[in-house]
Amino acid sequence: MNDRIEKRIELAAPVSRVWRALTDYREFGEWFRVKLDGPFVPGQVSRGPITYPGYEHVIWEAVIQKMEPERLFSFTWHPYAVDPKTDYAKETPTLVEFRLEKTAGGTLLLLTESGFDKIPSERRLEAFRRNDGGWTEQVKNIENHVAQRP
């Protein structure tokens, strides 16, 4: 059974540029939609409020794992941890890895998120139901927002 997500995306930007967008906490916060309180440090928690419209009351939190310059950036987190009433700390987090490779046109970004086998099914269902309500609407909002601000 597949318990991971894998994505490949070609970016028309040098590896150094992508590395900065991934690992500078301010730049990361721009496209990830979170206002982080300080630089990423391996082994340490990074947190801050989500800036995604409608989710500003939610605190985003991750533990930075690896920072191998221009090669690998990884963190663990709790995907869909958007309910302030739930204590996600008890759950096993998933591992998110960004791998960079230089290409002729710029950078190949390989993203994997693994460890879904450890997420309680209650939570999977909850995330699923949540999507039924406001989430789709919020995604439209953000897409509009990004389109207005190229």
Binding site: K7, A13, E30, W31, E122, A127
Partner: protein
């Protein structure tokens, strides 16, 4: 699109909890593969052609049963096991959802660095 009907009762949800774990085993995967294509099978039939003992197969079936992936049905004096696709569909949908989120997030990263 409504997903309400899919959540089921609390007890059903609890029973579905270890789906990933249940499928993380080659023997159980092969049992699921057998059951998912055909009619409900008895333990005797599932054991024939397998190197495993009846006891071992029974143990694996119990794990699958707890995860809600197979259900026992009575056929006369015999207990047969049938496949239930729901728990696996549910997990597939959850991963699709997280996957879509990544597509959007990475699209934002792309426009951010390509500017």
């Amino acid at each position: 699109m409504s997903h309400k009907g899919r959540s089921g009762s609390a007890s059903q949800r609890r029973a579905r909890a270890p789906v990933f774990a249940a499928l993380g085993d080659e023997t159980r995967l092969s049992l699921v593969a057998k059951l998912s294509v055909g009619q409900p099978c008895s333990i005797r039939r599932l054991t024939s052609g397998s190197k495993l003992t009846r006891q071992a197969i029974t143990k694996h079936l119990r794990v699958l049963e707890r995860a809600g992936i197979v259900h026992a049905v009575r056929a006369g004096r015999e207990r047969r096991f049938e496949f239930d696709p729901k728990p696996m569909e549910e997990i597939g949908k959850y991963l699709d959802l997280v996957s879509e989120q990544w597509d959007r997030t990475l699209a934002r990263l792309k426009s951010f660095v390509e500017d």
